[in-house]
């Protein structure tokens, strides 16, 4: 039943998008005329007001509005210029794409800012969903609900161009290096489990501290997800470069980014639907990725030996 109404809505949405609203009423070729008629009318009403669809009704924080959280500040290339409202940057574009799929017009998307901790605290949330490169992990699922992944990435290593790390091409050459990572990221886990350096890694709250540690030669290299690594090395840490990216393998799974919801928030189903449509049906996800992240994937591959 649910499946059916979804697919009907899907057809209707597609039709509405392609033909425009006026053309929609008459020329629908679905076999069950009355159902299609109803669905179409519904879509017309929804898009007219842009306050969500059937699925989202009653599930959002503020009726008819979609409240989305991002980091404070939000970093590039995920959000350009710390201004998600501009729709610029990968996550900003994905957020508006999801909102559109769920029938929210741009003016009904409300942005709030949270830190990582506010996103995972047990109390009521001030957002419908939160996207700021949260990695989906089994451990975290006990306390928050994740959407399906909207992006998958791998880890990369950044070091100063003249550092001991600069020439490394395989993991076995990296064991004697001193590593740094950002607190609360999966990169730290990656260092201890995959690289297994001989000394304990250092951990920093932000890129500013990691940069200072690199410059003070307290660490030789830092590990970050690839797009962040490429951005950080190009823009934030002068004199640094991406020494390489780590390939995925049986032992190293991809780092999947998901949106964070309050535990068991039913809205996640609507968002998952939107994401899978954007991924498999409209290919919008891949085009957003090409727009905002195409410059952020090139780096030599490091051997896991």
């Amino acid at each position: 039943m649910k499946q059916r109404s979804n697919s009907v809505r899907l057809i209707a949405l597609g039709a509405a998008a392609v033909l425009g609203l006026a053309a929609c009423g008459g020329g629908d070729s679905a076999s069950d005329d009355t159902v299609a008629e109803e669905a179409t009318e519904e879509v017309v009403e929804e898009t007219a007001t842009g306050t969500g669809n059937d699925c989202t009704a009653g599930k959002t924080l503020a009726e008819g509005k979609l409240t989305i959280a991002t980091g404070n500040p939000a970093y590039e290339p995920w959000v350009v210029g710390d201004a998600p409202e501009s729709k610029e940057g990968f996550e900003a574009a994905v957020a508006y794409g999801v909102a559109e799929e769920m029938g929210f017009s741009d003016e009904n998307v409300v942005w709030v800012r949270t830190g990582f901790d506010e996103a995972i605290q047990p109390g009521a949330k001030n957002f419908d969903f939160n996207l700021q490169q949260f990695s989906i992990t089994e451990e975290r699922k006990a306390n928050v609900t994740f959407s399906e992944p909207y992006y998958s990435t791998n880890q990369a290593i950044v070091g100063l161009a003249d550092s001991a790390a600069a020439g490394a091409t395989k993991v076995s050459e990296m064991r004697d290096l001193k590593f740094g990572a950002q607190a609360g990221t999966t990169s730290l886990d990656f260092i201890t489990k995959v690289i297994q350096p001989n000394t304990e890694p250092f951990v920093y709250d932000d890129n500013a501290a990691a940069k200072a540690a690199l410059e003070a030669k307290q660490v030789d290299a830092i590990v970050l997800d690839l797009p962040t690594a490429l951005y950080v090395s190009a823009v934030e840490i002068e004199g640094s470069k991406v020494i390489g990216q780590f390939p995925l393998s049986d032992q190293v799974g991809a780092d999947n980014f998901g949106m964070v919801f309050d535990l068991n928030n039913p809205l996640v189903e609507c968002v998952n639907e939107a994401i899978s449509r954007m991924r498999d049906l409209t290919y919008e996800l891949i085009s957003i990725e090409e727009t905002w992240l195409s410059g952020y994937t090139g780096a030599p591959v490091i051997s896991l030996d």
Partner: protein, 250 residues
């Protein structure tokens, strides 16, 4: 009040979620060994900074209490040191000394964040502790000095054998106060890299999206500070009984 909390809090609508986020028993068991390991680093930093702080603070307090007119620059310098050290946030000192000094071009191991983080802690805390010592020294009545000098003790001997022993005894409680505070501020060294207990708790928090590791860290801190405080209280009371002679019951 306590009864009200114990009875009412579990009836709140989202208590289950809070309980799971802060008091998850499985999470406690899982994080505990890692946190204890990391706590060892706190203990080490604490152990090597404390003696340095006491020595430095005492020297500063003595400098500030010097009385010779010729030593005015020393007094001014000591006063300026305590003002600046106490007036600037500890975090800034840790960043500035922990990243700044090694950034000047020191090589490993002399650029260690542990080393320079400890130096930053020592600098700030010696400012606070110097003031405590100074208050202790000032609290010793002037007649004690007068008596000691009239017995033929030099100015330095008076300080060493008459004033300081009394002064230090009097300031044991505020000193302990500063030590407890230092023990928690040791965690700030994690800002420049080293993984100590609060950082490890933060890592576990992020990994499991659960705040329970912080609660475990707090319990570990309490397990150390409470016995330490009680022990010092006891020693101090014993000292008071021994030296004050009389005691009014109630």
């Amino acid at each position: 009040m306590l009864v009200a909390v114990v009875l009412l809090v579990p009836r709140m609508p989202r208590w289950d979620r809070v309980k799971k986020s802060f008091f998850d028993v499985d999470q406690m068991r899982d994080s505990f060994p890692r946190l204890i390991d990391a706590f060892w680093l706190d203990v080490k930093i604490f152990a090597w900074t404390t003696p340095a702080i006491f020595v430095l603070a005492l020297l500063i307090a003595l400098a500030r209490n010097s009385r010779s007119p010729a030593l005015f620059p020393l007094r001014a310098l000591a006063a300026a040191y305590t003002d600046v050290m106490r007036g600037v946030p500890v975090i800034l000192w840790i960043y500035l000394v922990g990243f700044g000094v090694p950034g000047l071009g020191l090589e490993r191991p002399y650029n260690s964040p542990l080393l320079w983080g400890s130096v930053a802690l020592g600098m700030t805390y010696s400012g606070y502790v110097a003031e405590v010592f100074r208050a202790g020294i000032d609290s010793v009545h002037e007649s004690q000095r007068a008596a000691a000098r009239s017995l033929g003790l030099s100015s330095a001997q008076t300080m060493r054998f008459v004033v300081l022993p009394q002064a230090v005894r009097r300031v044991v409680p505020p000193l302990l106060n500063d030590l407890v505070s230092l023990q928690k501020d040791v965690a700030l060294v994690s800002l420049i890299g080293p993984i100590e207990i609060l950082r490890q708790a933060g890592i576990d928090k992020a990994k499991f999206a659960n705040f329970t590791p912080y609660v475990v860290a707090a319990l570990i801190f309490l397990a150390v500070t409470i016995p330490l405080t009680r022990l010092t209280d006891y020693l101090w009371q014993r000292e008071r009984r021994r030296t004050s002679g009389t005691r009014v019951a109630a």
